[in-house]
């Protein structure tokens, strides 16, 4: 039997009480491209971190080229021929392309760095990817796609025997994906074992020889690609056969009984074109939670940014309550009654050192002149009210917000827009990075806010959660609306296929 390039043998990993990986067994062969597939939270990142030696497994063993490795460090992993392309880029922005590619292993001549050879080699590698870039340029000057490609070149420059790629195509355009596939095939011919982690089923089916699917940190199935269809992959990922995942943890759902949810249109977006978005049309009703689903880079971020005045439209129109509005900057969006709960709460959503009260009340205060005095008493009672109503757990409204737990911080961020009485709240991954119990609480809160007559746009990369919370889901694929699901049509697997641009089986409406 051929020795596998990388074998993960009965690996288990716990974080506190939570099992991230349970008895995982995976084998990646030389000269093969393997697709590693699983939903969010299936354990893919944990696996990568174990292989890269970021933390050790609790039990189980790791074999590289047939030999067992213990206590691996990132440096050793590299020496053993492993390269990983992580989702979050690790390039140094203010170094030239060539130095980024060869960092840690720059070619030398009599002890000194041989810059000429380094740039020549870098240029050759870039040419392989059909990239026409000056190797002296700084990484900071590159576009997102170019950075991603440089990252790939960097990984390839190490002539890896095992190359693991975590969602490498998210930032790439169609033809760049094809170039990347070319590189992957040539690595494969050289005997490299390539692991392709992706949510993009079409790409997985196209490039991979084998597919391994994991779910909830356990093995589900592995086999040659020919054995799978997009439908069957999604079935294995979700562990369900195309049945609505509705009701899962959503004991209370008020969607159907919301006042006027089907009638009054609050927000209407017409023929919206952004640099990465084409012909978007949709309506948001009062009391409705409209879910947006899509893969990274699908264009959801762009639509939300546009609605909050952070991106300029090429063409298109927005109406709020039937009035055409212009959204050129956040203050304008806020004046029209739009609020944003941003994806990265700490970076864009809160003032960590300021009190809960200031965090909640600061937006409303902007309606008054700059030199007017702050109405501390009003603000104190407003903040106290929201702390009670949203059950924000804090010692007092004067506590710095950084002392609160993630879920409670997020509630305070949401309270900011309630205080301002925003009519439309854009919730961009509002439950990202908070624990499971708090997630449910935040989602209940969002449903209650909608029930009170607000319009909510909601995104989540977790399809089950999205179906729990939303009344309707619009799927965006490659910058266009691909499909719309009404609540009756919600189906985990169909949704997952749709974000991949696959129409999928028609859900059985009689079941609803």
């Amino acid at each position: 039997m051929e020795t596998s390039a990388l074998r993960i043998d009965h690996v288990t990993k716990r974080f506190g009480g939570v099992k991230a990986l349970t008895d995982i067994q995976l084998e990646f062969n030389p000269g093969e491209i393997t697709g590693l597939i699983g939903s969010n939270g299936a354990g893919k990142s944990t696996l990568l971190n174990i292989i890269w030696g970021v933390f050790p497994p609790d039990s189980g063993r790791l074999f590289i080229n047939g030999g067992e490795v213990r206590k691996i460090t990132p440096e050793q992993a590299q020496e053993l021929g492993i390269s990983i392309i992580f989702q979050h880029r690790r390039l140094l922005p203010y170094l030239p392309i060539a130095e980024n590619i060869f960092i840690g292993k720059m070619p030398r001549k009599s002890g000194l760095i041989d810059y000429r050879k380094m740039h020549a080699d870098a240029a050759q590698l870039l040419a392989m990817l059909e990239l026409n870039l000056d190797t002296h340029r700084l990484v900071a000057e590159l576009t997102a796609e170019e950075k991603q490609l440089v990252e790939i070149v960097k990984a390839c420059a190490r002539e890896p025997r095992i190359l693991l790629m975590d969602e490498p195509t998210t930032a790439l355009r169609q033809h760049e994906v094809q170039t990347l596939f070319g590189i992957m095939r040539s690595l494969k011919r050289k005997g490299c074992s390539v692991v392709f982690i992706s949510h993009r089923l079409k790409e997985v089916m196209e490039i991979c020889d084998r597919i391994s699917i994991i779910r909830d940190g356990r093995n589900v199935i592995a086999g040659p690609t020919a054995q799978f269809t997009a439908d069957s992959i999604v079935d294995h990922m979700s562990g369900k056969r195309s049945q609505p995942a509705r009701g899962e943890g959503a004991a209370v759902h008020v969607g159907a009984s919301r006042p006027g949810s089907a009638s009054e249109v609050l927000l209407r977006v017409k023929d919206l074109n952004l640099p990465k978005v084409r012909g978007i049309n949709f309506q948001l009703h009062r009391g409705e939670i409209l879910g947006f689903a899509g893969l990274g880079g699908s264009g959801i971020d762009d639509v939300l940014e546009y609605l909050f005045g952070l991106q300029v439209a090429e063409s298109g129109a927005v109406e709020i309550d039937g009035m055409k509005v212009s959204l050129k900057h956040p203050r304008q969006a806020i004046r029209h009654g739009i609020g944003l709960v941003p994806e990265d709460r700490q970076l864009n959503g809160e003032f960590l050192e300021l009190s809960v009260q200031d965090n909640i009340c600061i937006a409303k205060g902007q309606q008054r002149p700059l030199l007017s005095t702050v109405r501390r008493d009003d603000e104190h009672s407003a903040a106290t009210k929201y702390v009670a109503e949203l059950s924000i757990k804090t010692d007092s409204v004067h506590t710095p917000i950084k002392n609160l737990s993630g879920g409670n911080q997020q509630k305070a961020v949401i309270a900011k827009w309630l205080d301002l009485d925003s009519r439309i709240i854009l919730m961009h991954e509002p439950t990202a990075g908070i624990d499971v119990a708090a997630k449910q609480e935040v989602n209940r809160l969002i449903q209650a806010i909608a029930a009170a007559g607000k319009g909510i746009i909601y995104t989540s990369s977790d399809m089950s959660e999205l179906m729990d919370v939303a009344d309707r889901i619009i799927v965006i694929y490659q910058g266009r609306i691909f499909k719309e699901f009404s609540r009756l049509e919600f189906d985990h697997n169909a949704l997952y296929l749709a974000i991949n641009g696959i129409a999928g089986p028609q859900p059985d409406l009689s079941r609803g």
């Binding site: 970076l347 864009n348 959503g349 300021l354 600061i362 008054r368 700059l370 030199l371 301002l420």
Partner: protein
């Protein structure tokens, strides 16, 4: 007993109480070292010496809280004294001369604000640039030497007293009260803290970040101009070389007072104490006959120590 000790501990738990204790200890030390320390004249001198630099330090506190820095303040002091001198020598009345002086200073602040807030360029570099530009303009206007002027009201403001307290101290107190009110009680003040804490969140919360930051630098310019007016009033001259190193002196007091260089945090009360301590250290050295060169060393050392303390606190 333990309870009382615990109470004392609690009382001195914060940074400001510790700073107060430090200044009291410094006073006791100086009083023991020199018999002249506890004389009315000397205490008046100390206060008077802090008037000009104190006004700048208070403004600098606001600038640092907004996550900015203004290195041009010393040059603006010189620029203002020069404008005042030239205007009065040209026969303008005091109100008009004062207006020109403060307008000139505010214009420098607006230029700083434009580059920093509108063009979004690092305040350190921008104000380093205007520091040189403004100093140069002051020299161009008046030449290399100080130019004296004579104006009765200005002379009174510079060296007169009211109820036994030198007039510049009233200016210092007025600026303190004004800034304290602005920072603590107005929307502007809270925005300054918010912007210093997280500029992007501030923008996404609807704060007019550009306008607020321009206002911060314009106000800093105004205060530096006022400080320059007072300095000219004390010296009866327009001095193009005045105010050199004031940016460092002000920063020393502000940082010693516990204001964070990272923005978003800081209190005027700390700066008051910081200014006072720096003044005590310098005054003490004067009385003990320590040469100026050593005073330079000690001023710098205070900054280093203050930064080390700040680092430990966070």
């Amino acid at each position: 007993m333990a309870g009382r000790l615990g109470g004392l501990k609690q009382l001195t738990a914060g940074y400001l109480p510790k700073l107060t204790l430090a200044s009291v200890a410094l006073i006791i030390l100086l009083a023991n070292l020199s018999p002249h320390f506890f004389t009315l004249t000397n205490l008046k001198d100390i206060l008077l010496g802090t008037a000009v630099i104190g006004i700048i330090s208070f403004g600098m506190t606001m600038v640092l809280i907004s996550d900015g820095i203004d290195l041009s303040v010393g040059s603006v002091v010189a620029f203002a004294s020069v404008i005042l001198c030239v205007s009065i020598n040209a026969g303008l009345g005091l109100p008009l001369a004062l207006l020109l002086t403060l307008t000139g200073a505010v214009v420098v602040g607006l230029v700083n604000g434009f580059f920093i807030a509108v063009m979004n360029i690092n305040p350190f570099i921008i104000t380093l640039g205007t520091m040189s530009v403004v100093r140069g303009v002051a020299y161009i206007i008046i030449g290399g030497r100080p130019l004296p002027f004579e104006q009765a009201t200005v002379r009174f403001i510079g060296s007169g007293s009211f109820l036994g307290v030198p007039i510049p101290i009233y200016f210092l107190a007025a600026v303190l009260v004004l800034l304290w009110f602005l920072l603590k009680y107005t929307q502007f003040g809270r925005n300054v803290y918010a912007i210093g804490n997280n500029q992007e969140t501030a923008r996404l919360s609807g704060i007019n970040v550009v306008k607020t930051r321009i206002l911060v630098f314009a106000l800093m310019g105004l205060l530096a101009g006022l400080a320059g007016f007072l300095l000219a009033a004390q010296t009866y001259a327009g001095i193009p070389a005045a105010g050199q190193g004031y940016e460092l002196d002000a920063l020393t007091a502000v940082i010693l007072g516990g204001t964070s260089l990272k923005g978003g945090q800081g209190r005027l009360a700390g700066t008051v104490l910081g200014t006072f301590i720096v003044a005590l250290v310098l005054n003490g050295q004067n009385m003990l006959g320590i040469p100026y060169f050593y005073q330079l060393v000690s001023k710098g050392a205070i900054i280093l120590v203050a930064m080390a303390i700040a680092r430990k606190r966070t």
